[in-house]
């Protein structure tokens, strides 16, 4: 709540600054900036050559996107995994038991990004870290420690993925839904200010689909080898690795259409008779390593993604998140927000996802609960000029290429002096950035 007020105060200041600025006549403005702009853009061409490019990194729950500022796509998308020095096994960096373990694994990951993929010298370079609003403090603090102390970077800007993704659209208002691996997070953003009152999240995303596939395979899946046909998967659980599950998700599964989805949920959720199920799509023979064949049934292919749209006991699914977020927003922002939905995150790349989500939303809007509260008939969606899984990264790449970056970043000196990071949930951290400090 305090944060909202703060933001409101902040935006008010901005508005004031703007009106002050408007007071100048057009001629004044020209005289002030016109020539400056001209000379700056002339110098710009020269400076691109030797100015070291800024590193943009987005460490996701499953995949890490990394590249350089001003480019149209990341240089690499690699799994957020490193070999754990203690257990000697490759493990996701988010599975850490304490911060010193996280420090070691982040060091490994950043090292691989910088010296294997980007091939740049990190010392005194600027870095933009794309992060989720829900990123744990200990994670970002450890990341800052790795970047500043281990790699001695010049400055770091932690930027919210939801805000950044709006930059790729040339707008500053949007209802942004990030559906990645671990969770789905909806944040409404109005005129560049996140409405924190309206954020909604649900721990259902790509990972939930994968665990649904796994349980279904364990229950009904069969493996055929040259010796034995149709052996239950549960008797050879080691053959179903996480990589296999992920590959099944990517290559076999899809988000089914609305009417079929309703029929499926009627049977699986509310105990309807199995003969009401729509005819399932054909099975797939999925080759496993070692010559055995895994039978992936049509049901698994079609039913697994239903986990996204099944309403739980509190009647929450990823579609209701958008509506709930809208309900929480001030009434005069709702119309604009509902006509500017932005979807980011890799799970949105599942075939059929958008169509289904749109159908779900239209259906939910007809329900009296939402029809009474929201005067919205339909949603409109933005299509960012990227693939969904790196939209936020691209926003970071755009920010990183701007001249204002230094004034918004946390410099190494400031970090070493104060030893802490600016954080949106922390009121006194505002003066950490260079721009603010100059004012003081």
């Amino acid at each position: 709540m305090t944060y909202c007020k703060l933001l409101a105060a902040h935006s008010y200041n901005q508005v004031q600054a703007k009106t002050e600025f408007e007071d100048f006549t057009q001629a004044d403005k020209r005289s002030l900036y016109g020539d400056q702009l001209g000379s700056m853009s002339f110098l710009e061409g020269l400076s691109i050559v030797d100015e070291p490019k800024i590193i943009i990194v987005d460490i996701g729950a499953a995949y890490t996107k990394c590249g350089l500022a001003g480019e149209t796509g990341p240089r690499c998308i690699i799994a957020s995994q490193v070999r754990n020095p203690r257990t000697k096994e490759v493990d996701n960096i988010w599975n850490y038991s304490n911060t010193s373990e996280l420090y070691e694994s982040l060091k490994e990951l950043v090292y691989a990004l910088i010296f294997k993929h980007l091939l740049v010298t990190p010392k005194d370079r600027r870095v933009v870290v794309v992060e989720s609003l829900l990123c744990p403090s200990e994670f970002r603090e450890t990341l800052a420690r790795v970047l500043f102390k281990q790699f001695e970077v010049g400055s770091v800007l932690f930027a919210s993925s939801h805000l950044l993704s709006l930059l790729t659209l040339g707008t500053n208002t949007g209802l942004v839904m990030d559906i990645g691996f671990k969770e789905t997070l909806v944040v409404p953003i109005y005129e560049g200010i996140p409405i924190m009152k309206g954020w909604q999240s649900l721990p259902v995303a790509g990972k939930a689909i994968e665990s649904r596939i796994k349980t279904q395979l364990m229950e009904h899946g069969t493996v055929s080898t040259s010796e034995q046909k149709f052996e239950a998967v549960s008797s050879v659980p080691e053959s179903i690795t996480d990589d296999v599950i992920e590959d099944i998700k990517v290559r076999c599964c899809f988000v089914t259409d609305f009417s079929r989805g309703q029929q499926i949920q009627e049977v699986t959720m509310r105990g309807g008779h199995a003969n009401k199920l729509p005819p399932p799509p054909p099975d797939i023979d999925y080759p496993l390593d070692g010559g055995s064949i895994l039978n992936v049934s049509g049901r698994i292919r079609e039913h697994s993604c239903e986990v996204l749209f099944e309403q739980d006991n509190e009647e929450i699914s990823i579609a209701t998140l958008l509506l709930e977020a809208l309900v929480k927003c001030p009434i005069d922002t709702r119309r604009v927000l509902s006509s500017s939905v932005v979807i980011i995150g890799g799970t949105a790349m599942m075939p059929g996802f958008y169509h289904r989500l749109n159908c779900e939303l239209i259906e939910l809007l007809r329900k009296p609960h939402y029809a009474n509260q929201l005067g919205v008939k339909q949603f409109r969606f933005y299509r960012p000029p990227t693939k969904e899984n790196y939209t936020a990264w691209l926003g970071g790449a755009l920010t990183g290429a701007l001249e204002t970056l230094p004034s918004k970043s946390l410099s190494r000196d400031a970090y070493l002096q104060r030893g802490k990071l600016p954080d949106w949930c922390c009121v006194d951290s505002d003066d950490l950035c260079e721009e603010k400090r100059h004012k003081l």
Partner: protein, 458 residues
């Protein structure tokens, strides 16, 4: 026995209080301190292509996004593609009755048999360099966004600068009203030129936001009726190898320019001197600067395994080898303030006398006669078990004080070091200065024998 060659058994303490085996450490000649990989600054030296082994200047590598322009990887399996040539006959343009043979080139993977023809890429008439480059379909939109944001950022920055200026010299502005001051004149001059500035027309706000859609295509019917064509669909790794395109069909995969590797140089974080710098030529395995600790610090190893029992003195033979070409004196001391409780599971009696080591002399290493050398150094046979070239075997007496687990000991090793840095040479009569270096050494000698009554007296 393989465990006694294990690198992790004998560790040296780095200046950052972490323990590493000697081959993982560097010795900074200027700080005279051991440095591990964390205490060194890594820098990109020269990028090169791992296939054609050609250096690429870092400026060019930057432009080409760290990819070799001539070598390609298979988009399916990642193996390096080879160029194949075929002859292609086509009717001659001059005389339609004759045909002329022309060499055409395509690329094939020697591992998974993928070829550029599989995805419908036409054969090329030159062997390399003419393969089409994919363009990001959104490139224009993104660059127009970027242009616009850059202008906005400039205005924001200018506004910021101006505010500082105004607050400092507000009186100048007051004078301007009457058109007297030089600053005011300059500003007027600006305004006449600014109308010609090209960027002037691009005021912020011109940027069109992206279009929104309210309906999406439903899934094609094949999803419900046809089995998914696994062989035609790409895996996630295929998609991520080309982040900007992420094709879902195998038929849309294009050959990928090979990613460059780089030679790295290491710098001491304290004094910023290089501790490791590779030769410029990528095919050379030599170094220009190589200050790995193994070349300067005597290495201690365990010669043979011993059986330990609690509170029983055991003789352990260790070897010590001198990596430098000069003779070296080494002395071992206990560590007084044993802060590391992990490494004091035994009491250790170290040789009292200094240990003398012969220099490393590669050509004559095989010709030393043990006995003559022992005489030369007047070795005490109770301490020095053998002597061979630059290496000696010496004994320490170890008494474990725990009844289970590994026997771990620690001690301080002092050794001579000839400082041959330029600074040290200049100071005194061009003779290398000899300094004493101290390193803390931590050893794991192996587990304590299990008290098994059947075998105990064997």
């Amino acid at each position: 026995m393989a465990t006694y060659a294990d690198l992790e058994l004998v560790k040296y303490l780095c200046c950052c209080k972490k323990k590493f085996s000697v081959c993982r450490l560097y010795l900074c000649k200027y700080c005279l301190q051991l440095r591990c990989t964390d205490c060194t600054q890594h820098e990109v030296d020269t990028p090169y292509c791992p296939h054609c082994l050609e250096n690429m200047p870092s400026g060019e590598a930057k432009l080409k996004k760290n990819r070799c322009s001539n070598c390609f990887d298979c988009p399916v399996c990642g193996h390096t593609l080879v160029t194949r040539s075929t002859s292609h006959t086509s009717p001659s343009p001059d005389d339609p009755t004759k045909t002329i043979a022309k060499k055409m080139y395509y690329m094939a993977c020697g591992f998974c048999r993928w070829t550029t023809r599989d995805v419908g890429l036409p054969d090329q008439s030159v062997a390399s360099g003419s393969w089409p480059i994919l363009q990001n379909p959104h490139e224009q939109r993104i660059s127009s966004l970027l242009e616009n944001y850059k202008i906005m950022a400039q205005i924001e920055k200018a506004e910021h600068e101006r505010k500082k200026y105004v607050s400092r010299r507000s009186h100048l502005y007051r004078q301007d009203k009457y058109g007297g001051s030089a600053a005011g004149l300059r500003r007027k001059g600006m305004s006449t030129f600014s109308s010609m500035s090209s960027t002037e027309s691009k005021v912020p706000g011109e940027l069109e936001p992206s279009v929104t859609v309210d309906s999406f295509e439903p899934l094609p019917n094949e999803y419900f009726t046809e089995p998914a064509a696994l062989v035609k669909t790409t895996k996630l790794a295929h998609r991520h190898s080309v982040p900007e395109f992420q094709p879902t069909e195998i038929s849309k995969l294009h050959p990928i320019h090979k990613h460059l590797l780089m030679r790295k140089s290491l710098r001491c974080k304290e004094c910023e001197h290089n501790v490791s710098k590779a030769d410029f030529n990528p095919s050379s395995i030599k170094f220009k600067i190589q200050l790995t600790a193994q070349h300067h610090v005597p290495e201690i190893r365990i010669l043979t395994p011993s059986t330990f029992t609690m509170n029983k003195e055991t003789i352990v033979t260790l070897t010590l080898s001198n990596p430098s070409v000069f003779g070296m004196t080494v002395s071992l001391h206990p560590i007084e303030d044993e802060s590391d409780t992990d490494y004091c599971s035994a009491k250790v009696e170290l040789p009292k006398k200094e240990l003398l080591l012969a220099g490393r002399d590669e050509p004559s290493m095989q010709m030393y006669d043990d006995s003559s050398q022992a005489d030369e150094f007047k070795d005490d046979p109770k301490v020095i078990v053998f002597r061979k070239g630059n290496k000696i075997g010496f004994v320490v007496k170890v008494t474990p004080v725990v009844n289970e687990g590994d026997v771990k000991i620690q001690f301080m090793m002092k050794h001579e070091f000839r400082n041959t840095t330029a600074a040290a040479l200049q100071s005194e009569s061009k003779e290398p200065e000899i300094v004493w270096l101290e390193h803390k050494v931590y050893m794991n000698l192996g587990p304590i024998a299990k008290k098994d009554p059947n075998v105990s007296q064997a």
